[in-house]
Each structure stands twice: as C-alpha cells, then as structure tokens.
Symmetry: C2
Amino acid sequence: VAAARRLLRRSVRRDAGRLLVEGPSALSAALAAGRVLEVFATPEASQRHAALLDLATAGRARLSLVDDAAAAALSETVTPQGLVAVASMPTAGLVDLPAAPRLVAVLLEARDPGNAGTIIRTADAAGADAVVLAGASVDPWGGKCVRASAGSVFSLPVVDGVCLEPVLDALAARRCRVLAADGSGETLLDDEIDAGRLARPTAWLFGNEARGLPASAIGAAEAAVAVPVYGAAESLNLAAAAAVCLYASARAQRGPRQSARSATSAAKAGAAEGRQER
Amino acid sequence: VAAARRLLRRSVRRDAGRLLVEGPSALSAALAAGRVLEVFATPEASQRHAALLDLATAGRARLSLVDDAAAAALSETVTPQGLVAVASMPTAGLVDLPAAPRLVAVLLEARDPGNAGTIIRTADAAGADAVVLAGASVDPWGGKCVRASAGSVFSLPVVDGVCLEPVLDALAARRCRVLAADGSGETLLDDEIDAGRLARPTAWLFGNEARGLPASAIGAAEAAVAVPVYGAAESLNLAAAAAVCLYASARAQRGPRQSARSATSAAKAGAAEGRQER
C-alpha cells in the first residue's frame, strides 16, 4: 500500500510507468486493456464488485484485501469506494498515431484534469483515433483525469508530454487537416458542416480553459472555427465546446447509423428490421 | 461580511432570496441582470476589476473594501479572487416559461453542481429559453453551480424546486415536445436530425449523472434519444451529452448563420460582405 500510495505523485508515476485507478468504471476499462497489476479492495468492495475482481485475478492481477483506512489512503475522492488498482501506464507516442487517422483531439495547455478527462471520454465515444495532450497540459494519468475519462484513457491512444510542432508535423504527414476551436474564430462550425468539409480526416485543437489557443496555434490551423453562441453566454465550457465539435465531425464522417454502438438501440433496431422483413 | 457568509448555506439563501456571486465573470452577468446588492473586494481586486466595480456602484450596489481574510471567508474556491458579491436571487417559476418556447433543458435529479452549471451555460449559449431543475436536483444558486454557469444563471430563466409532473404539464400546454436523453434510447440523435424533427419546439430531459432518467420520465417523453457511441466508452458525461443534444436542436432550429453571436466572426463577416458589395 505504501508503494502504491506514492503513485499519487506525478513524478513517481512517470518513473514507475504505473498509475492508480480508482473505482469500478475505470478499473473495468483498465482490465479490458490488460493493464491491471494489483487490486486493493476492502472486504465490502470485494463483495460488491466480485465479478470485476474475478476478472482481475483471472488475468495476472494480484488481489490484496485492505481495511478502510488503507483504501482511503490510496483514494483521492471524498467518499472512497474501497477499490483501487495499480495499472501499467500505456505509453503511446506520436509514432503510434494510426497511419490514416480520421479524427484526433489535441489539447494544448489544458490545465483542468476534469475537463481533460471528460474530453478524452467524449473523444473515445465520438470514435476518435487518438487524443494528444500538448504543451504544459495536465497529466492524463492523474486520478481526477482518469476518473473523469471513465476509463477511456485506456481505450484509445493518449499521447502526452509533446510540443505542438511535432504534433502538427505528425498530423500533416498523415494528411489530417487541423482545425482550431476558437470562440472568436472566423468560421462558424455550421459553415464547416454545410460545406461538407468535416467528413475529411480532421484533428481538432482545443486550448486552455481561460486563455483559449495561442495565436501561433490558430495560425497553424487550416481554419479557426467557432461554435455559434445564440444566447447571452460569453462562450462555452471547454469540454462542452469539444463535445459539439467532435460530434459534428463524427456525424459528418460516420453518417447517422454506421457502426454506432448503443446496445439497446442496436438490438431493437435489429428486431424492428427483422419484423419488416417478415 | 458575517451576514453575507451565512449565504454559503442553501437554507439561508432560500430564506433571504439572496446568493453569493464569486469572481468577475459571474459578477458581470449578475450586474447585467441588475441583481447585485453589495460587492466585497480586496484593495487589489478592486484595482484589477475597477471597470466592473464602477459599473456596480453606478447601479445601486454598495461597495465594501475587505481584507484578504474576509474575502477568503466569503469564498468557496481554493484560490479566492478577492471579489464576492451579494445578489438578489432571480425567482422564475413555471408560469414564467415563455408562451411559445423553442428550446428548454430540464434536469431531473442532477446532483453535481459543476455539471448543472455547465449545462445552464451551454443551454444559454445554444439559445435555450429556460432551464428547469426538477426533482431532488442540486441547488442552482450554490457557488459551484453559479461559477460553472459563468453567470448564465442570471441570463435565462432558471426554474428549480419543482416536480416533474407540473413541468411536463407546462411544456404540453406550451406545445413543446419532450425528448428524453437516454444512452440506451431506441432513437439515435442522428435519426431525429435526419427526420427534421429537431426543428420543432423541444424540451430535453436530462437525468442523474449515475442513474440516468427514471423509466417514468422516459415513458412520458415522445422518444428516448441516444447520442451514438462509436468507440469503447460506455457513455458520455452528462454535460457533454447535453451539449451535443442542445446544439443539435439549435442547429436544426436556427440554421447555420441566423443570429449567431460571435463578436469577431460577425465583424469579419460584415467586412467580407462589404468587400463583396463593392
């Protein structure tokens, strides 16, 4: 527990190539990615999440029963759930970007771990190929970001600790156009949609929560694109703006039905189609 | 300061019909709504935000210079900005919903003040006519929600403390169709868009962060609508899903350009049109 507890610090995580994963949702994603090394659970949590722990021990993960105090010591939340795992850190670099990415989200100087995690989760849901955290962005392997991502940090390549220039080079080499999300951008998102340009392979640049993107990043993009504001609000929250932009791309690229995964809807659509054929 | 400090408690806010507003962005929105009664500022903050304080005192607001300790006592943030105001609480009820609303967001049992504030901000930006917090939802007048809304709680009617049934009655009386946002809904958001149905006056129901909407609420809606998930993520964060749904409605209702407000883009579009005419 003492060794695991040190992983609460960013520098120790870096050195060890390991991170802490708290709660069933993130643990489940880490297990699916085969990254769980050890699970700490209180007796109560081990009963409540028995199926998840069976899955962990069926892999190579070690299970350690701990008391509430030890579980709380490993937890960063106000109400610890008694379930914390040590996972190996996925180490994706720019070379690991797919050769022909369709949709990429790039965060530049994003400082809020909740926002970063939410955007990673949204990018995963929108079918993005990768998320890149460039410049002095927050550590995606910190507890708050991992939890906000609901485990999506394990589901798609997350590249961090890179400068913007090599990111832009890598995207250019992969023939991916770059759009800067910018509340005061000249192009409205709807113009991009109407012109059919969002169907092309696209990387979205998102900036700092307070300052947005620097002029240099906006200048390097093909266009500065604003989500339209119809009401009195000055702007959108970063993660909300990212959700609107990423889903605009997903819709343009995927069309309404193709490969969308929604368990219930897929099953029911299948049943409905079956009925129509009969 | 002592009296203002008590407004950190929900029950006191209710009784007094007043709330605390922290930071320049929310204060600016409260001033624009004519709701600021008193401003507490440290000497440093009063210099940094001189224009805002001039605006406040030009209204009927009283200005009190306080020391850092007093400002911190009124603050709920880790890094107080030295600027906190007492504002009168807007009291919108269901009767205050416009007679023919175009877009309404209804939160049912939403418990996270950051999510609720972000959704109020997004609804405002998307041009919604009102936000309703139904059932045991979080208090929209608490500090975290007001800050997450970036002041949008003052910009559009926010109705809270109501049960779902009268909300549905009020929406039906105003000929507003009701859609339930539901990750396992039968209808994909893209189907609604493609069928052109989102152009109609629409109220979106959003549920609890963990449990979603109860079956009764889904049953009362015209359709249960899922934002498609293309990747490995189980679902979207509540505020991200709301952003995608509300902006899908805004786009269907407003079209690409009509009355979208983006200072820079509007100015530049005007200049471009001017050039074309010459």
